[in-house]
Symmetry: C2
Subunit: 220 residues, 2 copies
């Protein structure tokens, strides 16, 4: 293969953030699905806004505040125990079906995780799913307190790996992440799991595939 | 009154961006309302993302690309004429009901517009609604190509007015705008027109009111 490292986004790319929706439905019944969706959307919005206004806090705090906001906004009954239980579930998200086999097929390569998540979220999540051993590096933006998709975040990966952007294939299901990484200079693969529309941000991924298996088929 | 200048956000604060939804419904029938909502949401998202990844384009281009994205994503039939007509409607948005009278009551003060909108959108909009003459300054982020809520955007207002942040009352209906302005150091008023929930971004506006008339009642 032609890349020095394969750098994977985590939430939405390796793990299904909506695998939490069942638990949301248990607590919030008919509002559960919407709360699950709004929680993720607000979580991302808070990363972007805090990056812009310059008020970084770790991802686990953003994730909690996003959930608290959505519960207030949706006017659902909640307790500290419910919030804690839902946040715990974020440490046990389900990997997408093809992920483990795809990582097996790439074992001869340098595989890296790079996430907006803080290490206190990433390590339990990867351990719970048994994926930790596949990765040589687990890199969090928390090390520099600059969220993706800022150029400084992607530069941190180059610094950690001592590689040039063009030597790296960055894989993400998030269009904002693919856009930021492409703009920075990474080679990029958009794992378009939900048949979504690419955002109009003047960037074109090197690969557009439905899952990691399809990507491997195009790499080999 | 106790402020050197009253600086108003435009979209959502002085003008109702959803006054365009009727035209969307004419073109897209039952999808019109959702397209109107998604268009605004995507327009804001593109401002935030382009600010973070460092790929500024003027607001009128972002507004067009946001509309194009939503039309593709919603799989609705559209033409260049439809897109153009909807973008033209953005130059004729309706001001909220109390705006004109509120500006009249503040005429002895220094009133300023400060928007992410480019001047080629702001001037026609303010002229069409007959509000131009109320403002001593019409300031756009396009002059520095840094979108709100970045600190550099709010600093531009201080530079243009030759004032300190604390001398300025900034008024916006957008929680991300109030958060960025408060964080920067402006005095802030959140015009909470839709009974929304304040975002959890570690900032508290100096005033929280339902419209400009209510704010004036608290100022005097």
């Amino acid at each position: 293969m032609t890349y020095q490292a394969y750098v994977f986004d985590v939430y939405g790319t390796l793990f299904d953030v909506y695998s939490i929706s069942e638990k949301c439905t248990n607590y919030f019944s008919d509002k559960g699905a919407r709360i699950s969706q709004s929680w993720r959307q607000k979580q991302l919005e808070y990363c972007f806004l805090r990056q812009i206004i310059g008020s970084y806090i770790p991802f686990h705090e953003i994730t909690k505040e996003a959930l608290q906001y959505v519960c207030i906004s949706e006017q659902v009954y909640t307790t500290e125990e419910i919030i804690t239980d839902l946040l715990q579930a974020y440490l046990k998200l389900s990997p997408f079906a093809e992920v483990k086999q795809a990582l097996e097929m790439l074992q001869s390569e340098t595989l890296v995780v790079f996430s907006n998540g803080s290490l206190d979220m990433l390590h339990p999540l990867l351990n719970h799913s048994g994926l930790t051993s596949y990765f040589q590096h687990i890199i969090s933006v928390d090390e520099i307190k600059q969220y993706k998709p800022s150029p400084s975040a992607y530069q941190h990966v180059c610094n950690r790996l001592n590689m040039q952007p063009k030597e790296i294939l960055f894989l993400s299901s998030n269009t904002w992440d693919v856009a930021g990484a492409s703009r920075f200079g990474f080679q990029t693969a958009w794992i378009n799991r939900s048949n979504a529309t690419m955002d109009l941000l003047d960037v074109t991924p090197n690969y557009i595939v439905n899952d990691l298996q399809e990507l491997i088929g195009q790499l080999t």
